[in-house]
C-alpha cells in the first residue's frame, strides 16, 4: 500500500456494460469500481474475460452500452481529444511498426497531446523523450532503429512513449508479456516509481506473481459475471482464483512474498 490518506477517485466505472455485438452477451457486464488516485489496479481474469475491452473502455476508444465512466469527476466523453491525451496514456501489448523510426522519434510521438495543433516537437520535448527512454531502461537505444529492436525492447519502447506523454492515468495492456526476468523487474520498478510520483496505473496482467508484486487493487473478471473489485489481498484468494480459472490454485507465502502456485 503506498497511499495511506484516502484521496478522490480518479477513475470511476458506474455499472458499465459493453459487448461487440448486440446479438451476443455483453463482454463487460455491469462493471462498477472507483480507482483512487496514486494506486495500481490490476485487471485479472482468464482469456476472453474482457480485460483488454475494459482497458479500451477506460481509454474512451470504446463507448459503453450502458453505464458511465467518470475521469477526475467528469464524464470521459466530456474530455476533448487532446485533453484526454494529456490525462490518459496507453501502453499497448504490442504494435506493428512497418517503418524504421529511431527510438527517440517514436517516443516523441507521446508528446503529441501536449503540442499545439500542427506543431512539431521542440527541444523540451526531445528532453522529455530522452528522459522517458531512460526511465523505461532504454537509455542506450535512443538512436536505434525501432525495426532492429527485440520484442521485449519494443515493449519497453511503448512504455517509454506512454511515459513521454506524462499522463495522470496510465493504462497498460499486458505490460510484462514479452519481457525477460530482468526487464520485468525493471518495469515493476518503473511502475512503482510512477505510483510514487502520484500517477495512477491500470494494467491487465496474466501473471499472478507480477500482480501480487505491484498491484494495490484488483478487478477480477470472469466471463458472464460482473467483475469483483477490491484490495489485492481480499480479492486474489485461493477460492476466487480457482473458481475463475477452473483450476485448483494455491496462494502461498515464500520469504515474506505471496506467490501463486498451481498444480
Amino acid at each position: 500500500m503506498s497511499t495511506n490518506t484516502p484521496s478522490a477517485a480518479l477513475l470511476q466505472f458506474e455499472a458499465v456494460s459493453f459487448g461487440y455485438r448486440r446479438a451476443l452477451a455483453p463482454v463487460v457486464r455491469a462493471a462498477t469500481f472507483a480507482l483512487q488516485s496514486g494506486r495500481i489496479l490490476a485487471v485479472v481474469g482468464p482469456n476472453g474475460a474482457g480485460k483488454s475491452t475494459l482497458l479500451a473502455l477506460a481509454l474512451g476508444w470504446l463507448s459503453p452500452w450502458a453505464g458511465r465512466i467518470i475521469l477526475a469527476g467528469r464524464p470521459l466523453t466530456a474530455f476533448s481529444r487532446a485533453e484526454r491525451g494529456r490525462w490518459l496514456a496507453l501502453m499497448p501489448q504490442s504494435e506493428h511498426i512497418p517503418f524504421d523510426y529511431r527510438a527517440v522519434e517514436y517516443v516523441l510521438m507521446g508528446r503529441a497531446p501536449h503540442l499545439p495543433p500542427l506543431a512539431a516537437p521542440g527541444a523540451a520535448d526531445y528532453e522529455a523523450a530522452l528522459r522517458a527512454l531512460e526511465q523505461a531502461g532504454l537509455a542506450d537505444f535512443a538512436d536505434r532503429p525501432v525495426t532492429e529492436m527485440s520484442g521485449g525492447e519494443r515493449q519497453l519502447l511503448l512504455m517509454a512513449r506512454a511515459l513521454a506523454q506524462s499522463p495522470r492515468l496510465l493504462l497498460l495492456d499486458e505490460p510484462t508479456a514479452h519481457l525477460d526476468l530482468r526487464n520485468k523487474m525493471r518495469l515493476i520498478q518503473t511502475m512503482r516509481q510512477l505510483r510514487a510520483q502520484g500517477v495512477t496505473l491500470m494494467m491487465t496482467n496474466h501473471e499472478p506473481d507480477v500482480v501480487l508484486a505491484v498491484a494495490d487493487d484488483v478487478l477480477l473478471m470472469e466471463a458472464g459475471q460482473p467483475p469483483v473489485f477490491g484490495p489485492v489481498d481480499t480479492v486474489l484468494t485461493e477460492t476466487a482464483l480457482s473458481r475463475v480459472y477452473h483450476l485448483p490454485v494455491r496462494v502461498v507465502e515464500v520469504e515474506g512474498r505471496r506467490r501463486v502456485l498451481w498444480t
Partner: protein, 333 residues
Amino acid sequence: MLARNTRRTQGLMALGGALALVFALSLLLGRYPAPGLIDPAQLAQDDLAWRLVFNLRLPRMISAVLLGMTLGAAGMVFQLLFGNPLVEPGFLGVSQGAAFGAAFAIVLLGNAAALIQSSAVLAALAGLGLSYALARRLRFGGWTLRLVLSGIAVSALFSAGVGLLKYLADPLTQLPEITFWLLGGLASITWDKLLSVLPAALIGLVVMALFRWRLNLLALNEQTAFSLGASPSRERLMLIVAAVLPTAVLISISGMVGWVGLIVPHIARRLFQTDARYSLPGAMLLGGLFTLLCDNMARALLAGEIPLGILTALLGALIFLALMTRPQTRFKS
C-alpha cells in the same frame, strides 16, 4: 539527436537550392535556336525566344515541378497511412479512374483538351469516392485493408473500362491519342491549363506539408493514434483527400506519369529517414527535381518528344536500384 535534425534541415535546404538552380537552367534548356542552353542575352532581342521561354517552357516546368512534388508527397502520405511501402497515390482508383475519364472523353465526347481534362478529374475523384464507399461496405479485415482491397477492385473496373474504350476507339485517330495520354507527358501544357489546376494542387501540397509531423502519429494503429489524442479516421480521411485531390487534377493534365509516387518516397526515406517531418518535404523536393529533370530530357533530348511516363519509369527504377543496393546514404549525425 537535434544535431541530426539540423543536418536534415540543411539537407532539405540544399535540395531546395538544387531545385531552384535546375529550374533556372531548365528555362534556358531546349532545342531553340540549337540544342542546348539558350544565351540569356538573346531573350531580350529575340521575340520568338522570349515567347518560347515564357509561354511554353515556364508553365510546362512549373507543372512538372508541381506534378513531381504532389506525386512524391502523396506517395509518402499513402505509404505511411497505409503502413505499406508498396502503395502509390493513384492506387485508390485514382490513376485508373483518370485514365478511364480521359479515354472516355477521347472516344465518346470528342477530343477537346478541356473536355479530356475535366472528364479525367471527375473520373479520378469518382474512383476515390467509389473506393471509399466500397471500403465502408466490405465486411472483411481492418479499415486500411478494406481500402486497399476496394482500391484494387475499383482500379480493375476502370482498367477494364479503358480496355473496352481502346477496343471501341478508331484505330487511326482515337487509339493513338489514348495511348499517348496513357504514356504521360507535359508537351501540351499552357498557362490556362496550369492555372486551372493550380489552386487544388497548392491546397493539397500545403495541407500535406502542415501535417508532416502529425503524419507519423496517423501511421500508428488506430487505437494508439487515438490514445495520443488524435482523431485517426477523420484526420486520415482529410489527408487522403489532400493527397488525392492534387494528384487527380495534375494527372488530368499530364496523363499517366508512373513510378514517381512509388519511388520518390523510398528515396526520401533513405536520405532523410522515416520521420515524415523531414521525409515528407524531402519527397516533395525530390519529386519536383526528378520530374523536372525527366521532363527536360523528354523535351530536349531528341528532336521529337519522348513520353514523360517512359522516362520517369526508366530513370526512377534505375535510381531506385542504385540507391537501395548501397548500404548508407543518409544525412545523419
